[in-house]
């Protein structure tokens, strides 16, 4: 089509030159403009770029990575091209996960593993990424279709399954362990897992898998009322796992009951989801490409534009046994790690010029070691700081109740028990 348009344009040009009558000039000029517009359209429509072997820093319009490689020139990232060696698993391809996947795809990540069991619905259209013509497709299939068009250099693996079922979990685990992409990598087959799911059960499953595999992961979430969210870094054994702190304590700034109106249809905004996806992938890039500070937890309160951060240590009484194992391993290697970190800090401090920062100390300000907390022990006294309250009442008095296995049912054979229940089920009365 392009060549034909060019031929028409050439004929028109020669016609223009041969015409002596100036009255047709403006008409011919209009025709020329129209043909030019059409040939531009033909050039841009349906363009697919081919794969790129090496990331180039060359500044030309046709280089998809020039702006990313410029991060090196600006002194932010030391070696950006390393990103092609990394594998990231994204669990949940919804409002946050799909946007995170697009960001990583555009950054030229090496390999993306996508997990979801849902289909695209019209009700998803208030969020980013998916398009109305994809309604009915599985989210994984639709995502791979769009993403491989955007960047054919990325290797995509899609898993349409529910990770909370026994079978789904096995596939999930083996896909994370698969090292075919980077055979020399230590640990599992992926560098990072991003949890972008929308429910507690699935988060607990990602937590279980990552604790067992000793896999660093990042959790993300957006509140049901769509105006707050958070991201959290979880390093098994080193930071709190998702089961370490059960949701017993909640901030009382807003009563949760007032947020949970009738029904379970959660609200969502493309803005909040986009912000959280951005924070999540930013933290992932910092973690993988080693620049800036990787945040252990970052909250986002859209109503007050408040971004709290905090660190959470693992719970020595965590109910997750894999977490306890990782904690034990971490304590063993901790002295060596701390020594290395201290040596690094000292080396950095020595390179800086040594002189007192303040020559005088008019107000007698001194630095006090706060590692030994002297104040009231909040944890043991059961009194919570202002603004916090226990969400659940203390355990009910069930401890003195009958426990199965006592004299009432002497049977202890699984088949017998099954038959007994079936007999009850068959009995109509």
């Amino acid at each position: 089509m392009e060549t034909e348009l060019k031929e028409i344009l050439n004929e028109l040009n020669s016609l223009q030159n041969s015409l002596l009558d100036p009255s047709h000039q403006s008409q011919i000029h209009q025709l020329q403009c129209r043909i030019e517009r059409l040939s531009n359209l033909a050039k841009s429509g349906g363009m697919h770029r081919s794969k790129v072997k090496d990331m180039s820093a060359e500044v030309v319009d046709s280089n998809p990575y020039s702006r990313l490689m410029a991060l090196q020139r600006m002194g932010i990232v030391q070696n950006y091209e390393r990103i092609r060696q990394f594998s990231i698993a994204i669990v949940g391809i919804g409002g946050v996960g799909s946007v995170a996947a697009e960001m990583l795809t555009r950054c030229g990540i090496g390999r993306l593993l996508l997990y979801d069991y849902d289909k695209v619905e019209l009700a998803n259209m208030n969020r980013l990424f998916f398009r109305p013509e994809q309604v009915g497709m599985t989210k994984t299939e639709a995502a791979v279709e769009t993403l491989s068009d955007i960047n054919p250099d990325v290797v995509f693996e899609s898993y349409t399954l529910n990770i909370t079922t026994v079978q789904g979990f096995e596939t999930f685990m083996s896909s994370l362990k698969n090292k075919s992409f980077g055979p020399h990598k230590e640990g599992s087959g992926v560098d990072l897992v991003l949890s972008c799911v929308d429910n507690y059960e699935a988060r607990m499953v990602v937590n279980q898998a990552c604790n067992e595999l000793n896999q660093t992961w990042m959790e993300s979430g957006v509140s049901e009322n769509a105006v707050s969210g958070h991201i959290q870094l979880l390093v098994p054994g080193e930071t709190a796992c998702f089961a370490c702190a059960p949701p017993l304590v909640v901030a009382s700034g807003v009563d949760e009951r007032t947020l949970k109106r009738e029904g379970v249809c959660a609200a969502s905004l493309p803005t909040t989801m986009g912000v959280v996806a951005g924070l999540l992938v930013q933290n992932a890039l910092k973690y993988l490409l080693k620049f800036g500070q990787v945040t252990p937890y970052l909250g986002y309160n859209a109503l007050k534009d408040y971004f709290p951060t905090m660190e959470m240590k693992p719970n020595p009484q965590c109910s997750n046994s894999a977490c306890l194992e990782r904690q034990k391993e971490y304590i063993l290697v901790k002295p060596a790690r701390d020594a290395a970190a201290r040596a690094k800090m000292e080396a950095e401090a020595q390179s800086a010029t040594e002189c007192p920062i303040h020559a005088d100390n008019e107000w007698n300000i001194s630095v006090v070691d706060d590692s030994e907390v002297a104040g009231p022990d909040v944890r043991s006294s059961g009194i919570l700081p202002d603004g916090l309250m226990h969400e659940l009442p203390s355990a009910d008095g069930f401890s003195n109740l009958p426990v199965s296995g006592d004299g009432s049912n002497p049977l202890d054979d699984l088949d017998e028990l099954r038959k007994q229940l079936e007999a009850l089920n068959a009995d109509k009365s």
């Binding site: 026994v166 979990f169 059960e201 607990m204 499953v205 379970v264 009910d396 069930f398 426990v403 028990l417």
Partner: protein, 174 residues
């Protein structure tokens, strides 16, 4: 437990509690847990029958006991409404509760997640978390599904979202 009525409370205290904290990936410990699940279900079902309050059938759909199927019903204005009931035991069980599904009601009420999973977030999940690992399938039915049916079925019937099977048959014949 202030919000629960006396009948539910007294029923609950008679369902045997479980002791083994084990999920479907825990081998022999899971078998032990499964035995306790059966004992609790047997006790609960026979109690319902003797109190003339029989309202569900449930049995394991596979030998591992990780998938369960059955029926549950609710009587409203002297008519019985019956639904298929199904759920999987999650890999993180019993830290997380089973997600009870009524697939026939999928899309008919907004108090439900995709696939017909009933919403248990407010009235049941906190109780389950607090009583892990002592609560099992029988407790989930008693404290999760029963109150859900009692709250939802009358509304679904009154708003004609669901029809009694006799009405549905006669209207389709016309």
């Amino acid at each position: 437990m202030e919000e629960w009525d006396q009948t539910t409370k007294s029923t609950l205290t008679q369902i045997p509690l479980l002791t083994t904290k084990a999920g479907p990936r825990d081998g022999a410990a899971w078998t032990q847990r499964l035995k306790e699940e059966y004992k609790a279900l047997i006790a609960y079902t026979s109690m319902n029958k003797s109190n003339d309050n029989d309202w569900f059938r449930i049995s394991a759909a596979n030998p591992e006991g990780t998938r369960w199927t059955g029926k549950c019903w609710y009587v409203h204005n002297l008519l019985k409404y019956e639904f298929d009931l199904q759920f999987d035991i999650p890999v993180t069980y019993p830290a997380t509760a089973p997600e009870l599904e009524l697939p026939q009601l999928d899309g008919k009420t907004h108090k439900m997640y995709r696939g017909g999973k009933i919403c248990l977030t407010v009235h049941f999940k906190p109780l389950w978390a607090k009583n892990c690992p002592r609560f099992g399938i029988a407790h989930a039915l008693c404290l999760g599904l029963a109150p859900w049916l009692a709250a939802e079925i009358p509304i679904l019937v009154d708003s004609s979202m669901i029809k009694h099977k006799d009405d549905a048959a006669s209207s389709s014949e016309v």
